[in-house]
């Protein structure tokens, strides 16, 4: 097939540059906004998703993890005595005040868990270990927040709510949506740091025995325990994500920005593809005059749009990868998993198809008799 679409597209380099800039801009905007949304969403429920627990026992009507209220640790024994429970551990995720070396204060979220168990512990540990937390006043802090908290080296000592805390290790990439960094420590230390009394806990993490129906166990626990909710990890994660993303409006704003990127892209690409079509209107008229069906002309326009989409996407995704990589070092994660990259490719094709539709409409009504007019 003669390369009419490709030649037309590459004939006007300036217009091609404008088209590709429009698509690239739209792709980058959508990647960044959707990536931020995904990053935020993942971050809000990070503690829950990495807890390795099957069920969470939490105070009543808790909308998200940061809203947990303390309750008596006697419930832990009730949980352990319930048939089908494999293991159950106390867990704390509460805000506390961190004192920097320069006298400044920062809010942190203290995460206390049983260091003899795997449930509720940190992940992505890059220095130190969970067993190091068994040493007095030991804490683990993510390296993303060292500057914010004034940490310069391992072994450094700080104050959390007036209690001594010593940094014994670091994690990497455990972000906090609330901007208060997570500080992992033993349950006992966490009780001290957060001023929780000795007989209180904030959550109970439950792991079911293998082969036990999670739904049945949840129901059994719910009927045995009073004044608390029993949630599956998936439920609790979903509730927390929904709260932060939609109840606060943060997610809606990010999604709207992504939509805006898409709209801007469609407008720019529509305008440039339409202008290209107008430039070649006489050629399309000639094609129709010599007997080309509308479908042939549509194909030429769609091929131009498709080529623009592929090139614009390739450029956009390349720029986006640099941005995503740069964001790894910052507080806000921009995630770009391959299904999302695929989705955005589909969106780019859709965007260009919509842009082509305007041109197609113009060509559909083109009178081939125009070729005889001067």
């Amino acid at each position: 097939m003669p390369p009419l679409a490709r030649r037309n597209l590459f004939h006007d380099k300036t217009r091609l540059a404008v088209t590709l800039t429009g698509i690239t801009f739209a792709v980058v905007l959508v990647v960044v906004e959707l990536g931020l949304f995904l990053g935020f969403t993942t971050t809000t429920s990070g503690l829950i998703d990495h807890s390795q627990a099957d069920l969470w026992v939490a105070s009543r009507h808790i909308p998200y993890i940061e809203q947990g209220a303390p309750f008596s640790e006697r419930k832990l024994y009730q949980v352990r005595a319930t048939p089908g429970v494999g293991s159950a551990e106390k867990y704390i995720a509460r805000f506390a005040n961190w004192k920097r070396p320069d006298g400044g204060h920062e809010s942190v979220q203290v995460v206390g868990f049983n260091t003899d168990e795997t449930m509720g512990g940190p992940w992505n540990i890059v220095s130190g270990s969970v067993s190091d937390l068994k040493t007095p006043n030991a804490i683990l802090v993510d390296d993303l927040y060292w500057n914010k908290l004034g940490i310069t080296h391992l072994g450094q000592v700080f104050e959390i709510n007036g209690y001594r805390a010593r940094v014994v290790g670091t994690t990497h990439g455990i972000r906090s949506f609330t901007t208060s960094p997570y500080v992992f420590t033993t349950f006992k230390n966490a009780q001290n740091f957060t001023n929780l009394s000795e007989d209180q806990t904030e959550f109970i993490l439950v792991r079911a025995q293998s082969g036990v129906s999670l739904q049945q166990l949840q129901s059994n626990l719910q009927s045995r325990l009073h004044d608390v909710d029993v949630l599956t990890t998936i439920q609790f994660s979903g509730m927390t994500r929904f709260y932060w993303m939609f109840t606060t409006g943060a997610g809606v704003a990010v999604l709207l920005a992504a939509l805006l990127g898409l709209v801007v892209g469609i407008v720019v690409v529509t305008q440039t593809i339409y202008a290209t079509t107008m430039d070649h209107l006489r050629e399309y008229g000639t094609l129709k005059a010599i007997g080309a069906p509308n479908s042939y002309v549509y194909r030429v326009i769609l091929q131009q749009a498709g080529m623009s989409a592929v090139l614009g996407y390739a450029l956009g995704i390349t720029v986006s990868l640099f941005i995503v990589h740069g964001a790894q070092q910052g507080g806000a994660a921009i995630l770009l998993p391959w299904p999302m990259a695929l989705l955005i490719f589909g969106l780019t094709l859709l965007m260009c198809a919509i842009a082509a539709a305007v041109s197609i409409n113009k060509v559909t009504h083109l009178d081939p008799a125009m070729v005889f007019r001067g």
Binding site: R7, R282, A289, G291, A292, Y296, V371, F372
Partner: protein, 254 residues
């Protein structure tokens, strides 16, 4: 001679709001295979409108039109392009080549529309360029060709798929007289040697001697029909001339 296009009582009225302009009125003509017919007349006389109707690009307001023996008056918008594609080749005043394609690719586009693709299309396109003596410019872009060369590429494109009818709108208007004449000689050759029906709209009287017949159109009606072919002895030619004259007389307004 076999009739390629037969028009009977073709009238075209352009209406815009209350204004109505009669571009053609009751035109009768036959275009035969093997002849080169000139449609001549002053600007605005309706020549191009008639050519557009003969080419199934424009619909007549009334009257009938047959292409290769098939009545096309009632055909749908989807069917008309097929008639154009299968029976008619067009040559335009402004060449209307695709500027981003080479000469051979311009011809290939028309072949592709007729279902001829790949190496076969390339071979046929080169052969058509050879027919119009332009095989050495196959890889040239239209911008690098002279006016005459462009028109010959357009002619090669019009010949793609070997249509029996060739319609040309002012094909020499953008050319100097020498080049214009050579293009018309080529068209005459295509009509005579390849048994094609060729109709050319022109107001260039200098090339009128190349045609077989000249139909003059004035104010939308056929004002005269002139047969330039040498009189042939025998009854068939006499009947043909008589038939032609009768048509032109009937077409004249009272």
């Amino acid at each position: 001679m076999e009739v390629a296009i037969r028009a009977r009582g073709v009238t075209k009225i352009y209406a815009e709001g209350a204004a109505r302009v009669t571009a053609l009125e009751g035109v009768e003509l036959d275009l035969h295979r093997g002849e080169l017919l000139f449609l001549m007349g002053p600007s605005g006389s309706g020549k191009t409108t008639l050519l557009s109707i003969m080419g199934c690009i424009l619909r007549a307001t009334s009257g009938s039109l047959q292409i290769a023996g098939r009545e096309i008056t009632g055909l749908s918008e989807r069917e008309l392009p097929l008639v154009r594609l299968n029976h008619i080749g067009f040559v335009f005043q402004a060449f209307n080549l695709f500027p981003t394609l080479t000469a051979v690719e311009n011809v290939e586009v028309a072949l592709e529309l007729k279902g001829i693709r790949g190496a076969r299309a390339r071979t046929q396109a080169l052969s058509l360029l050879e027919q119009v003596h332009l095989d050495d410019k196959a890889s040239a872009f239209p911008a690098d060709l002279s006016g005459g060369q462009k028109q010959r590429v357009a002619l090669a494109r019009a010949l793609a798929g070997n249509p029996e009818i060739l319609l040309a709108d002012e094909p020499t208007a953008a050319l100097d007289s020498h080049t214009g004449r050579s293009v018309l000689e080529l068209m005459r050759q295509l009509a005579h040697d390849h048994n094609r029906a060729v109709a050319v709209v022109t107001h260039d009287s200098r090339i009128a001697d190349l045609g077989d017949r000249i139909i003059r159109i004035e104010d939308g009606v056929v004002s005269s029909v002139k047969d330039l072919r040498q009189p042939q002895p025998g009854l068939p030619h006499f009947i043909s001339s008589l038939h032609s004259d009768l048509h032109s007389t009937l077409a004249r307004p009272l």
